[in-house]
Symmetry: C2
Subunit: 304 residues, 2 copies
Amino acid sequence: MEFELSILGSSSAVPTSLRNTTAQVLKAFERFFLIDCGEGTQRQMRIYKIPFERINNIFISHLHGDHCYGLIALISSLGLKNRTSPLHIYAHRKLEKIINCQLDLLNVRLPYEIVFHEIDNTKTEVIYEDKRIYVTAFPLKHRDIPTSGFLFKEKEHLLNLKKDIVEALEIPIAWRPRIARGEDYIDSDGKVYENNILTHTRKHSKSFAFCSDTAFTEKFIDTIKDVDLLYHEATYANDNKDLAKKYYHSTAEQAAIIAKKAGAKKLIMGHFSTRYKKTKMFEDDARAIFKESYAVNDGDKFSF
Amino acid sequence: MEFELSILGSSSAVPTSLRNTTAQVLKAFERFFLIDCGEGTQRQMRIYKIPFERINNIFISHLHGDHCYGLIALISSLGLKNRTSPLHIYAHRKLEKIINCQLDLLNVRLPYEIVFHEIDNTKTEVIYEDKRIYVTAFPLKHRDIPTSGFLFKEKEHLLNLKKDIVEALEIPIAWRPRIARGEDYIDSDGKVYENNILTHTRKHSKSFAFCSDTAFTEKFIDTIKDVDLLYHEATYANDNKDLAKKYYHSTAEQAAIIAKKAGAKKLIMGHFSTRYKKTKMFEDDARAIFKESYAVNDGDKFSF
């Protein structure tokens, strides 16, 4: 279990007594990534036991309040906790101004630095990378609001060499890391040995994709291909297809079509319109297309 | 029961899993007044069944985040509900800039008007008045942060005339409303009848005072004299007197001294430091001075 996703909010636009607005925490190889930060996210982290002082990187999909109003309070609270390490925030460039105008006017002096990383919401590009994982932002389609989805993907594993063959061919030590990274081997006589006869099948690299908010669009399907866990917004069920279209949101059925076309292993849906008191309808609509579809609740955790 | 106070938050600085940051709603003669608005207040209103679209007047004691971070989300949600009637906010003048910079940068267009009323936090003055109630702001003492407490007071009732005396003296009709308002009666011969022999005792005007955040100060005691319900912050118990002094907050004992000196009928305390898991200690400290002292929890309601 290298990945664990915690759902901190699953309501769209406004909170309800049971659902907060959007925020999720992905724990991946002991790193805690916060994705979106609706109002009240810091309290949800306390309720669901996320060590919020361990969050170093925050990704904001777009600048609608239900995805970012909780940031200023979280930032302030981290200051009260005497944080000193930098906090990295990846978002549309306007977010920096929004945060800074509040910090300035409220005379909040933080004991740590906020490093703002501008996302170009028109591009598919890697915006974060470390030894074990990288994050790709990709454009979503949400009215005229610049919006990005995020793919969190484990880096490719090194290939395990087939010991018996490597020894039989007396492959020099210096060559072995190169073969593990995927190169073919060329011996001193110039003979080429294809990588796949020297190595075992590569271990699967885990991934999670976050797609919210968005109207139905297939444009990012190649980017999230074969994802293990796909979160796709489903603001409406099929009874309100017209509203989904009007407001640039998706239905559960549309989320399932994306999951199926992307070859996802599992689909989770959230960002439910407050008009729905129950979510069975979402699962019914989605499962008619893609069996492994689930409507989330606040506090749900998904490990893989 | 003309007054009902709902506690929406009772934690200081940051929320805990059990307590949100400061916000209270006073329902008085079917008006709903919001006092302070920590992050997540709109959700607390949903949880505790406050009809938040009926709030027309919001009073903000000071511009620390735990007393105002929830405003922008509440304002936005009222817009999503297609509110059209104006929303009045009483606060330090900087709040207008803080709200407007967010609305501007986030391109939020509200379908209603926000009317900002500047509080001069150095003065004791009436800042709101209608037919039944008026609100007086008075200075608190909270470091260099301009901070006001609020007294919500029912307007004085007209005096009931003693029918038999009024008739015996043949007091003219035109004089009677003047006497009901408290004037002495002077008959056509110039003889003066003192008001108190013509009228019954005036019916008590109910009141509620909100005092947070503040270090111990007796300066506002005359303003809140004989208050029915006093909310006074008690960030610390007696075990942390030194911290109360250092951070310009109060202890439970100090809150009780204020309640006693003001002749309050009941004291409720909140804004507890997160270091305290239980509040019995606050009640013990306070009751040694003032018996009717209570530590609040989120969701508590007080009717009077």
